[in-house]
Symmetry: C2
DNA sequence: ATGATTACCTGACAAATATCATATTCTAAA
DNA sequence: TTTAGAATATGATATTTGTCAGGTAATCAT
């Protein structure tokens, strides 16, 4: 397995603020893990004893609602760190993580990271900043969820995925989700998500090929209300 | 104005992790501010150059939705710190703060707090923990917003206010909100909020006296879906 | 290749919620 | 105290969204 200090992934998260020495220590005790599409990485309520650094693939963070449905709270791709909140607050995790395609991750034990958190202020500050960003995003999601129609939320997640995670060489969204996942992100019934995506297709806003979606008229999507 | 190190309020927030010396410094540069009911403390997009510590009163943190309606993201009472996220991330604030009744606050300039953040790891860790808690709460709100009915959300906010902020001597919720505020919290039209609260009253779940609300059957409210 | 399973799609209807209109009650300022 | 303006209340109706029911198409393990 590659060493952390030479790992390009770390540039995308707060691990970049660790010193070379600290990275060597982290590297020495990390373990690599591979998850298959659909596999559960951890489940709501579990005690995590470390953080996961995503090297490749995509996963969804979900939370079970009282009505028994999963709600997707966040999508995490290469460079993301899973388990930060749980680590910091020293609580069981409030979210589940499920791989959306085959994933490659590094697992860093809690003790090692906590050592750095207590000794490297720059690193702590960086984690703080990442958390602040998550919080801001969560506020935005909350407002969208509360104030926008399902159709508008669906249009928005398509644009979000496009802008944040990009497209493949053919122009299709590089993150491929099931209709059920879309429903679970925008917080609606699967049938509704299907209907809305079909409508978007009819209206020429998107096109599809299998499960893949291509945005044809991003401006049109922006004006959905 | 009282000194921070003898201020009981600090026990409720991360300032408690500051040393006596640090508190003296903070105390020396803080300024007291008073806000009237309805007054804007700060507005979305402003650059905050410090944090606000709530000594008395209640305020709402809101965010303007694209449809022009305000969404209440959080209620903050005595002991709360406003402006943390903005301070940490060094960005303009993403939320507005409006006093719900007359308020007394202390304003602590950014420079002073940042000094402590960079030098007192226990304090930084505490801020980190508070932020982690906010994030967890935001995730929960998101799921509720996405998956529960307006009626259930309304029941929930009543119980939340009861459990978190308590009641006055007569048993009425100690935080008094307009129907419009309730609507803005649960993310619905004002008329819908009014209707639902009226229904709750008819069903004997709550009773009212002017704008004040008393929970009569908290168990009944819990089972609303 | 084939059957079984899962994902996707669509229609019909029911339920929840928004919107508009209008009336009533409360409240704060003159 | 009076009174204009705001907040609360309620009805009628339109719109959005969910649910159930029945399909077809894609995918997977044998």
């Amino acid at each position: 397995m590659s060493k952390c200090d030479s790992c390009i992934i770390k540039e995308f998260n707060s691990l970049k603020s660790l010193t070379r020495d600290e990275l060597m220590r982290v590297s020495a005790c990390k373990t690599g893990k591979v998850y298959r599409k659909g596999q559960v990485i951890f489940e709501e309520g579990e005690t995590l004893n470390g953080v996961y650094c995503v090297r490749d693939g995509v996963c969804k963070l979900t939370k079970l609602s009282e009505n028994g449905k999963d709600q997707v709270v966040k999508l995490v791709v290469k460079g993301g760190l899973l388990g930060k909140r749980s680590l910091v607050s020293d609580q069981k995790t409030n979210l589940s993580a499920v791989a959306l395609n085959d994933m490659e991750m590094c697992f860093i034990p809690k003790a090692e990271i906590m050592k750095d958190l207590s000794k490297n202020p720059k690193f702590t500050m960086d984690v703080l900043k990442e958390m602040a960003e998550d919080l801001k995003e969560a506020d935005e999601s909350l407002v969208n969820m509360a104030q926008k129609s399902v159709k508008a939320r669906t249009a928005e997640i398509l644009l979000y995925i496009h802008d944040h995670f990009g497209t493949d060489t053919e122009g299709f969204l590089s993150i491929v989700l099931s209709r059920e996942d879309y429903a679970s992100i925008v917080g609606t019934a699967t049938e509704s998500a299907i209907r809305i995506l079909s409508q978007f297709k009819k209206d020429g806003l998107i096109s599809t090929s299998g499960k893949r979606i291509k945005i044809e008229d991003s401006n049109g999507l922006k004006w959905i209300e």
